[in-house]
Symmetry: C2
């Protein structure tokens, strides 16, 4: 079902999605590709090509139906098909992600958090319990979770990743700046916060 959506496209799809949410809230029910393109500073034919991938036809002189677009973006990006995940590391970043209301609407279900700090264990964040990290292997198995969101300090990133691998976690969304070493069957997605911004900052700020 889910085609090969290139990374750049799915990035734009989430931006389109935010605009759809905004338009819906404003009670506007159609939108045109030039409107979207101008808002994002991109080419309007690109917007149309992206929408083509969604199998969502527009209407000449009118544009696209906001509701339909929103739905098909959600379907294409798999918002519908909920995925369960654990947050590993209950520091500020872990807590911020646990509270991030958007995860849920994007189909990512945070079931619990893990930390090794006894002070944090058993606290509730956004209705999700913080467990001691030693409980993780058991809960991975019982709940069939295979995504871990890694938000521990850099120096613990590799040992904790090793522990996740041993616990049969299959996907690691890595928010730490460490480049993890994992066996080939485990997939890591590096959330490279600085990377893209630096390019932006350097291009414009340093001339």
């Amino acid at each position: 079902m889910s085609k090969n959506i290139p990374e750049k496209v799915s990035n734009r799809l989430t931006l389109y999605h935010s605009i759809m949410v905004e338009y819906l809230e404003a009670g506007i029910d159609t939108i045109s590709s030039p409107q979207i393109a101008q808002r994002l500073g991109i080419d309007d034919s690109q917007v149309r090509k992206d929408f083509k991938l969604l199998n969502n036809a527009g209407k000449c002189r009118v544009g696209y139906l906001v509701k339909d677009l929103k739905d098909s973006i959600e379907k294409t990006l798999g918002f519908a098909q909920a995925k369960d995940a654990f947050i590993v590391g209950a520091g500020h970043l872990g807590l911020a992600l646990a509270k991030y209301d958007n995860f849920n609407s994007y189909g990512l279900n945070i079931l619990a958090l893990f930390d090794n700090d006894p002070q944090k264990v058993d606290m509730l964040v956004n209705n999700k319990q913080i467990f001691h990290i030693s409980k993780l292997p058991n809960l991975v198995e019982r709940l069939g979770v295979d995504i871990a969101i890694l938000t521990v300090p850099r120096q613990y990133a590799q040992p904790v990743a090793d522990f996740l691998v041993a616990s049969k976690i299959k996907y690691i969304w890595n928010f730490t700046p460490a480049v993890l070493k994992v066996p080939p069957e485990v997939k890591v997605w590096n959330e490279n916060i600085m990377g893209s911004f630096l390019q932006f900052a350097c291009k414009d700020i340093i001339q």
Copy 2:
């Protein structure tokens, strides 16, 4: 000085940088392109092409000097040339970013945080003071800051962005899911946390 480094390249440069930090800590002083490539699951000639942009020659049968590579990545990405910034929104994400030790080493200097919650005002986070948002225009002017990192809840994103624009902020690093409307002279960088991950998650998890 700073050439046009494409976004994808600067993304990879930060990953290379992390590997260099790790190798330096391990006391290893040379590294080869196939080693790096294998670690990141990319092509080794690409690593070499990226390093070409850094003007950093390697040595046949030996590889590259870790220290030199690290330095030239930092120079190219402008780590050296420190940039000052304010964090706007002292929720968990704002606090997490304020504590993110990596910002500093990447040349981004967080001078202060801003929030409208009187309870938070005057607190210190990682030695940075939280000010009431009303103090922002004055401090922007006095300190000559032109970067704002926006971490407020979605519903406040646009009005706060308007306020930042009126306060003469020139660059907004947008961590909210809202797509901001700003005049053309103000540059917005959308940190699209879900976008890239969804692609990763969908491709592999949903088949």
